[in-house]
Symmetry: C2
Subunit: 162 residues, 2 copies
Amino acid sequence: MVKRTSFEHDPCPVARALDAFGDGWSLLIIREALLGVRRFSEFQARLGMAKNILASRLRALVEHGILEIVPASDGSAYHAYRLTPKGRGAFPILVALRQWSEEFDAHPDEIATVLVDRDGGRPVRKLELHAEDGRLLAPGDTTLQPRSVRKTKKTGARLSSH
Amino acid sequence: MVKRTSFEHDPCPVARALDAFGDGWSLLIIREALLGVRRFSEFQARLGMAKNILASRLRALVEHGILEIVPASDGSAYHAYRLTPKGRGAFPILVALRQWSEEFDAHPDEIATVLVDRDGGRPVRKLELHAEDGRLLAPGDTTLQPRSVRKTKKTGARLSSH
């Protein structure tokens, strides 16, 4: 996928995040890194990507502060890629993508894995969005407000729930 | 952005979701639809996209069952695009992308909006992932298991938290 438009300075935080991830490959690289992958050759083997595309995506992820370059743990001359806190912070994005597929995919039987609680071994719940006071929120219970005047109540457009 | 690889039948649900969304534009179209946008001209004006790209992305979203075509509400010959339940189900993905930017963006002051609880007018909490029994889970508290043998405890790789 070739990026044609930069959302780097877009006022929308969704667009800014999409700018950082660039394309689907970047989120799959982060998925592998969360699973413990650190070496170029291992990313390449697991993702089946062309080396030049993998190299450019890794470079972009390092530039965005999502991965950092560290010495290889085996003491060799190779280096490895490690997630920064910003990179590990993408975990809820991956969970949201996963759960959307689990709920809406036309062929859920083709999904190979389940995200489970390590202690109980049971599937996790769906991600929950709560109000400050703890109430569970649906999309229609939320609204967007301008950041500068967000203390003014109910001025934003209601998020469509129809 | 030009899609070069299809993840449509990938065993990973993250990859499958990325295949459905295709590129950043599709999630921004869904964002606008959640805000109530329905007409081609309005998507075009708000997103500033080239008409041919917008048309191709809308077509793909309809093919994926994320948008559906409905008659225009004004009774004109134009049609409109409405989110299906599958489309509205992308809301947590958009929230996760937003919150990642809010937490990690180098210039959070450039973010124009805040997602608030419609009743209280207060910013929402961060998305939460809970175990079946209610415990709040961090990435390192979760693991992936093969779907077919998921009753076997703790066989998956621990998600990296370092």
